[in-house]
């Protein structure tokens, strides 16, 4: 089901350790413009997910960021009945989405009940402003 937040608690930002890692900055910059950005090796096309400084296949250090179409399938999910963080009301789901391009990313679902979720379910991205300074790419049913 959609995540509900405790209004008085700060949702963990991507920079939860106090620094936004340089490697993931293009992803979060993309989210602000409602795009899911992925890093790819410029030389051989291997997806660098999560982002990294060198292609493990061809060892090129030249990479590019490309926008995903935003469609994919549910690959797996977790239902949290005990919250690991005070901002999240239980129960809620974290999902692993396999994007049509191939890479898998962690996200949440919007408007899909827990008992509807199944592996292989087609989903598409939707952007939710969860805090004044935080937008998250989430996934809803296609159509």
């Amino acid at each position: 089901m959609s995540v509900e937040y405790n209004a008085d608690q700060k949702i963990p930002h991507p920079a939860m350790w106090g620094v936004l890692y340089k490697s993931s900055t293009p992803f979060w910059d993309g989210v602000k413009e409602k795009r899911v950005m992925l890093q790819r090796c410029k030389s051989c096309g291997y997806w660098l997910n999560p982002p990294r400084p060198m292609c493990p296949k061809c060892r090129s250090q030249e990479s590019e960021w490309v926008a995903a179409k935003g469609t994919g399938k549910i690959y797996s999910w977790v239902t949290f009945n005990e919250s690991p963080h005070s901002a999240f009301k239980t129960p809620y789901e974290a999902v692993l989405v396999e994007l049509d391009e191939g890479p898998r990313i962690v996200s949440n679902v919007v408007g899909i009940n827990s008992d509807e979720l199944e592996i292989g379910m087609p989903v598409e991205v939707t952007f939710e402003d969860v805090a004044e300074d935080l937008t998250l790419p989430k996934f809803k049913k296609v159509g």
Binding site: P12, Y21, S76, V78, Y92
Partner: protein
């Protein structure tokens, strides 16, 4: 392929175990010294003769600090390795390579009461100011509430259920057998009596499909192990336990508990790579192993390890663990007769201690005629392992 010059070149000659607790009431510095003193006494090694110290990076005060506490005047060798039993490799290499004579591997962690009772990820993260693959992943997980290891494992485990068809009624036998073994182990503090499949099914799904009983509880503890050469061992108090081989395993796209980007996320390629090297160096195979000490920090990794280490075929592990008979003492492959980490708390070196006791014949849950034990660690991440045997 590495040289196999470490085969049978080191031995465990002493173990020191501070009583486990959920509130130990001492500093880690104190209990580190305490465990090392116990281990040295058990071995019959004078603390002044300890000239090597190793540990894993995240557990306990560093060797130079601990050495100061012990009053050691000179250390010829001190180092740290990453998580798990990997530091055992350092100790074996140091002793076999002649860098030091008596090396102590110690693990001290007060996870239940001490500074580590907060999520260990936070502590690790503080160490990393610059980007690293293992840290960058949090930027992608935490805003969505995927926080904490039970959740990380649950994401993999739901997929594992989907692909293998394993049912909770099968996985439950890992904690059930752990509870039976822990109830017999006077050192284990978590189960006074064994649990049933009903207890397991009623255990809270904290990060569904992971239940509370699938997770090793946090504990305060301190363990030390003395390692030297088999030749020097002859003059000491205990029957030496020969380290037949040690090995480490890595694989592409690996992240601790979150290797979600691999084509297949439901096997343990690090463990498979480690096992290949472990068996090759030791000249052994899975059929030669009498007792398996497996990483049960999270229960799903036990069936996965049984397959990765070659104890059963691909896809056979769910049936192998079901009912518990094959993994109990007396079964085809007794697993963690001490109750494992589920029974004793999250403490990796307990597996080495139990391996030593099984080979000495002094376990509280002894497997008859144990002459070889395999110890594995690092399920769901970089893996490490050891085979030890009777002299």
């Amino acid at each position: 392929m590495a040289i196999d010059s470490i085969k049978d070149k080191a031995a465990i000659v002493g173990i020191g175990v501070v009583d486990f607790s959920t509130d130990i009431g001492r500093t880690e510095w104190y209990t580190a010294c305490q465990a090392i003193k116990l281990a040295a006494e058990e071995a019959g090694v004078n603390i002044d003769d300890i000239d090597g110290m190793v540990k894993s990076v995240d557990d306990g005060p560093d060797p130079t600090y601990t050495g100061k506490g012990l009053g050691i005047d000179n250390l010829l060798y001190h180092s740290e390795n990453h998580w798990g039993t990997s530091a055992m490799m350092n100790a074996v290499h140091a002793v076999a390579g002649g860098l030091c004579n008596y090396c102590v591997y110690y693990q001290t962690a007060h996870r239940a009461s001490g500074p580590e009772k907060c999520i260990s990820d936070f502590l690790v993260a503080r160490e990393f100011r610059d980007d690293s693959l293992d840290m960058v992943r949090y930027d992608y997980f935490s805003p969505f509430g995927l926080i904490g290891e039970p959740g990380y494992v649950a994401m993999m485990y739901r997929r594992y259920m989907h692909e293998t068809g394993i049912k909770p009624e099968q996985l439950g036998w890992v904690p059930i057998v752990a509870s039976e073994n822990a109830a017999r182990n006077t050192n284990a503090i978590f189960f006074d009596k064994s649990i049933t499949i009903d207890d397991y099914m009623q255990s809270k799904l904290i990060a569904d499909p992971i239940r509370e009983l699938d997770c090793a509880p946090k504990v305060d503890g301190s363990i030390a192990i003395v390692i030297t050469t088999p030749e020097r061992a002859k003059a000491l108090k205990q029957e030496p336990v020969i380290i037949n081989s040690v090995a480490s395993g890595y694989a592409l796209e690996g992240q601790n508990y979150t290797s979600y980007t691999r084509d297949v996320i439901t096997d343990l390629p690090e463990m498979e790579n480690m096992a290949k090297e472990l068996y090759r160096v030791g000249g052994m195979g899975p059929k030669d192993i009498k007792v398996a000490m497996l990483d049960d920090t999270f229960a799903p990794y036990v069936p996965m390890q049984l397959e990765a280490l070659g104890f059963c075929g691909k896809g056979e592990a769910p049936a192998f663990i079901e009912g518990g008979d094959k993994i109990r003492v007396g079964g085809q492959l007794p697993v963690n007769p001490d109750g494992g980490e589920i029974g004793q708390g999250r403490f990796i070196t307990t597996r080495i201690v139990e391996a030593v006791r099984q080979i000495r014949g002094t376990s509280t849950n002894q497997v008859a005629n144990t002459d070889t034990v395999l110890v594995a660690s690092g399920a769901g991440g970089p893996a490490d392992g050891m085979i030890c045997r009777k002299e």
